[in-house]
């Protein structure tokens, strides 16, 4: 009868459509060179989408880690590192895709839509419970930014900071640093993101905000007039705090990336990138945490 015929036709159309969709690759057809497309042996088959390396970072993406809020231009320390790692894995620049993931979401437990996240995420044991880190790609110090004429200026030791109102982003090692090392007498202010923390500093609601040193330099040099890096803190503990790339727990790609990082370190390329983007950001007085 008519009804049955209609169903048959519909089913056929649907199946055909489905088959067509499965066959075709929706990506750019320009580069279909299959030889290095899915990376060399290590990375092949271990990415979220075949033949593409999906990297995540937050938005806005700030200097000196990225430039012009555009991870794809390869400028900025982390953008450069990301493309260098991708190259080692066998992905050309056109085979790298970027996706936006808020800072705290990157290392929250659960499935990930990216292959790795690069976003100034410090390696820590707690975070290791939820995700996997690569080896460190940058040694980082915490620093404090404040107005050059404020109560925070001229602080030489943590004791000078204890009576101040400090601020940091939630879930960061910067906040932990305030709570565990500085131990201020008034509760710090905690913000959803660094943009809010900076706004608070600008509004005079906090005397100083704690950030990693390079970001601190950028804020004081470019973003908020009248501020300066009051000082940097030496690392606590035996090993320095390090940034690591974030992977979904158990992702085999992590080992491939560690190999890539080792290669970049050995060849001196990692240091060259650091020199290019972060060389002028290390001069700040050291604040005693004794």
């Amino acid at each position: 009868m008519n009804g049955r015929r209609l169903i048959c036709i519909l089913t056929t159309v649907l199946l055909a459509g489905g088959a067509l969709a499965a066959c075709g690759d929706d990506d750019d057809d320009a580069t279909t060179d299959t030889s290095g497309a899915s990376g060399d042996g290590c990375a092949s088959g271990n990415t979220v989408s075949d033949g593409v390396l999906t990297i995540a970072t937050d938005s806005p993406a700030f200097p000196p880690w990225f430039v012009d809020d555009d991870p794809t231009n390869g400028e900025g320390f982390e953008s450069a590192v990301a493309y260098a790692v991708a190259g080692e894995l066998g992905f050309g620049a056109e085979q790298v895709e970027w996706t936006i993931v808020p800072f705290n979401n990157a290392f929250a437990p659960g499935e990930k839509d990216f292959d790795f996240d690069i976003n100034q995420v410090s390696i820590s044991e707690e975070r290791e419970q939820a995700i996997d880190f690569s080896d460190g790609y940058y040694d980082v110090n915490q620093a404090i930014v404040g107005f050059a004429d404020s109560a925070a200026a001229g602080a030489t030791s943590v004791a000078d900071l204890q009576d101040l109102r400090l601020g940091a982003q939630v879930g960061t090692t910067s906040l932990d640093f305030i709570t565990d090392v500085i131990e201020p007498s008034t509760e710090p202010f905690v913000y959803n993101d660094n943009s809010a923390a900076k706004a608070a500093l600008d509004a005079g609601q906090v005397d100083g905000i704690v950030l990693d040193l390079p970001t601190a330099f950028f804020v004081s040099a470019v973003e908020i007039e009248g501020t300066a890096v009051i000082g940097q803190f030496p690392s606590t503990g035996d090993s320095p705090e390090q940034f690591g790339l974030v992977f979904e727990e158990g992702n085999p790609l992590r080992d491939c990336v560690n190999e890539a990082l080792t290669a970049l370190r050995d060849s001196g390329e990692l240091e060259a990138i650091e020199q290019e983007w972060l060389s002028d950001v290390v001069d700040a007085p050291v604040i005693d945490i004794g």
Binding site: A108, E126, V170, G171, E187, V190, Y191, A196
Partner: protein, 285 residues
């Protein structure tokens, strides 16, 4: 010999005895069925795959105790904010409603302003108002203007919520029959006096349940204060969670909020049930 009627308990008639038996039985049945359903629910949930992980992640006893001890003091900030905000909202919203309900031609600009205000603040997300006031105004560095984030967060909540609450008041004012106003004017009261002594008292009594409803909503919104920096209960729960990757702290915070809002909800229900009668009188029998 002569036993007065008050000495002996009244004998129940067969009908009354039957009714009592039925009532008792229905209570037993209700209790039994609740018990059965509850047991089934618990059994199903506990046997579900992944329950252990869920329990560890959301309902961990130690984490609960630990985080609760941190969150409870932070909740004091939420309480402070909603008490102050609510007091101001109740007053400001009433002024807005009266402004919008006024009929005098001379008050036309006031009426328009009030309407514009309500349209504006009902349409803009509270979060935006928070940012504008909490970061924007202090950044202007105006003389004598505080930059305290708790202050501005409270102001943002007051400005936003008053817009909604004023509409509730307005509905109450409109619901008072015109004949009440006529009677008040007829007795010689001025327009303002009629509003103050006859219309508003009735209007406000009628809208106490929806007012309470908005109050309950406000209590939850105090969590937004955290956006501007101060650590209130929800933020404290988030800090704990981001350190431990455990979500039990959120459950603890939720329970603290509920401990305040649920009694208020029940109170609202009770008031609703009680207030019906009075508003019907005054008219034809």
């Amino acid at each position: 010999m002569t036993q007065t009627v008050e000495d002996a308990p009244p004998e129940l008639t067969p009908r009354q005895r039957y009714a009592r038996r039925q009532r008792r039985r229905s209570i037993v049945v209700a209790a039994a069925s609740t018990l059965v359903v509850a047991t089934l629910l618990v059994a199903v949930v506990v046997r579900a795959p992944g329950w252990e992980e869920v329990k560890a992640s959301f309902f961990d006893g130690d984490r609960f105790r630990e985080s609760f001890a941190e969150i409870a003091p932070a909740f004091k900030l939420n309480v402070r904010v909603f008490l102050i905000a609510e007091a101001c909202i109740l007053v400001f919203a009433l002024l807005l409603a009266v402004a919008r309900s006024s009929r005098a031609p001379a008050l036309f600009p006031v009426r328009v302003l009030a309407t514009v205000y309500v349209d504006l603040f009902r349409g803009v997300p509270v979060l935006l108002v928070l940012f504008l006031l909490g970061f924007g105004v202090p950044a202007l560095r105006l003389e004598g203007v505080t930059n305290d984030p708790v202050f501005w967060a409270t102001v943002a909540l007051i400005l936003s919520y008053s817009a909604y609450v004023s509409e509730v008041y307005r509905a109450g004012i409109d619901s008072v029959h015109e004949s009440q106003r006529s009677a008040a004017r007829a007795v010689g009261l001025t327009s303002t006096q009629s509003l103050r002594f006859v219309v508003l008292p009735q209007a406000v009594r009628r809208v106490i349940p929806p007012l309470l409803n908005d109050f309950i909503a406000l209590q939850k919104e105090t969590a937004l204060v955290g956006v501007l920096g101060p650590i209130e209960a929800a933020r404290r729960a988030q800090i704990y969670s981001s350190r431990t990757f455990n979500f039990t702290s959120y459950v603890a915070a939720a329970l603290i909020f509920l401990a305040i809002t649920i009694p208020l909800t029940r109170l609202t229900d009770w008031l609703l049930a009680r207030q019906r009668r009075r508003t019907m009188a005054g008219g034809p029998a």
